[in-house]
Amino acid sequence: MNPMKTVLSFAFLVALFIASPVAAQDKKATIQKNKYQQIEVTRFEVKSGIVFPAEYQVSMTEDLVAQLQETKKFKQVLRLGEASSDANAPAIKLVGQITEYKAGNRAMRYMIGFGAGKTKVVAHIKFVDRATGDVLFEKDVDGKVILGGLVKGESIGATRGLAKEVAKLASEKFF
């Protein structure tokens, strides 16, 4: 085979790879570890057409703050509008949108089980650099209540599951 052709083919393949979306995605996903010491939690929006109870929104915000604090990775976990101890420190802003909500039924979970009456909350979350507005990472996360015990198993507990998943993601991506 003509060596020139071989070299040109190889160069073409390399150029193709560099321009490919996979490579681009890898570049976008690169996050500087241990850079962000503060995170601001905003109240999630609700996608139009979804009826999401107001107390669930309150519960979700509080669960997010609590779970992020429990990771002990961030020096400060702030609520929307809260004053930071160091205004110049790099900070992440957590924003999200509730994209799916299934109310479920606790009595059905208890009586039938096997996933019947499951409560589910799905949100699309974004971690955004607060200073530049760049989206650092985004993903769909969910929280569910599948088991319906008499003592535990309240439907509103789904927000806690979602918050735990968000906190786990934040720990893995930024530290």
Binding site: A54, Y56, V58, G81, S155
Partner: protein, 198 residues
């Protein structure tokens, strides 16, 4: 073998009695709360005169709502914590016993909502389930109607916080009327909204 037969015979006699006891307890609790709401409406207006004999002191009023359950919003306070809510002329305070769990001045309130909700009778369901080999847990399907108050307010650092409380049915309206006197608007979403259930 004989002891097992005796045990089964005894349990057959005791079981209906225990079931009847539990049903009576549930009925009595519901009747008591209904009677309380009818006679006093769960509202106590307490005129309080400040301690200062010999001088003219202004009377202060407050509105107290009992049997209030915390749903979400107060850090490190578990869900379903029961307490009572006191509205004064410039703030609202949620108490558990003698302990204040949260105190929110009216000027910090950003938004208020009054929603219809339901509350599981988890205690009664557990009791019934215990004596009926789990079948009584079906009582959980029956929910008590409650009003849900949801507030947005700012904390001392300027952060946006939320507070969700369940109050007895029709008491939410009294809270809204009290707050309206002091310039705090509590919205009531249109009926098309799905009621919030616990």
């Amino acid at each position: 073998m004989c002891s097992h037969v005796r045990l089964i015979e005894t349990s057959h006699r005791i079981l209906p009695a225990m079931l009847a006891c539990c049903l009576c307890m549930v009925a009595a609790t519901n009747a008591r709360s209904a009677l309380f709401q009818q006679t006093q409406g769960g509202q106590q207006v307490k005129p309080q005169i400040e301690n200062s004999p010999g001088s003219a002191q202004p009377q202060t009023e407050s509105l107290t709502i009992s049997k209030v359950f915390h749903v979400a919003g107060i850090p490190k306070v578990s869900r379903n914590t029961r307490g009572y809510l006191v509205f004064t002329q410039n703030e609202m305070i949620f108490h558990r016993g003698k302990r204040e769990l949260v105190r929110v001045p009216f000027q910090k309130l950003r938004r208020g909502q009054l929603l219809a909700g339901g509350r599981d009778n988890a205690g009664a369901a557990v009791a019934l389930a215990a004596v009926t080999y789990g079948i009584g847990g079906l009582a959980m399907a029956v929910q008590s109607k409650v009003d849900v108050l949801v507030f947005d307010y700012t904390n001392e650092n300027g952060g946006l916080m939320g507070l969700a409380l369940q109050v007895p049915k029709d008491q939410g309206k009294r809270c809204r009327e009290w707050l309206a006197r002091f310039g705090v608007t509590v919205e009531e979403p249109p009926a098309a909204t799905t009621p919030a259930k616990k």
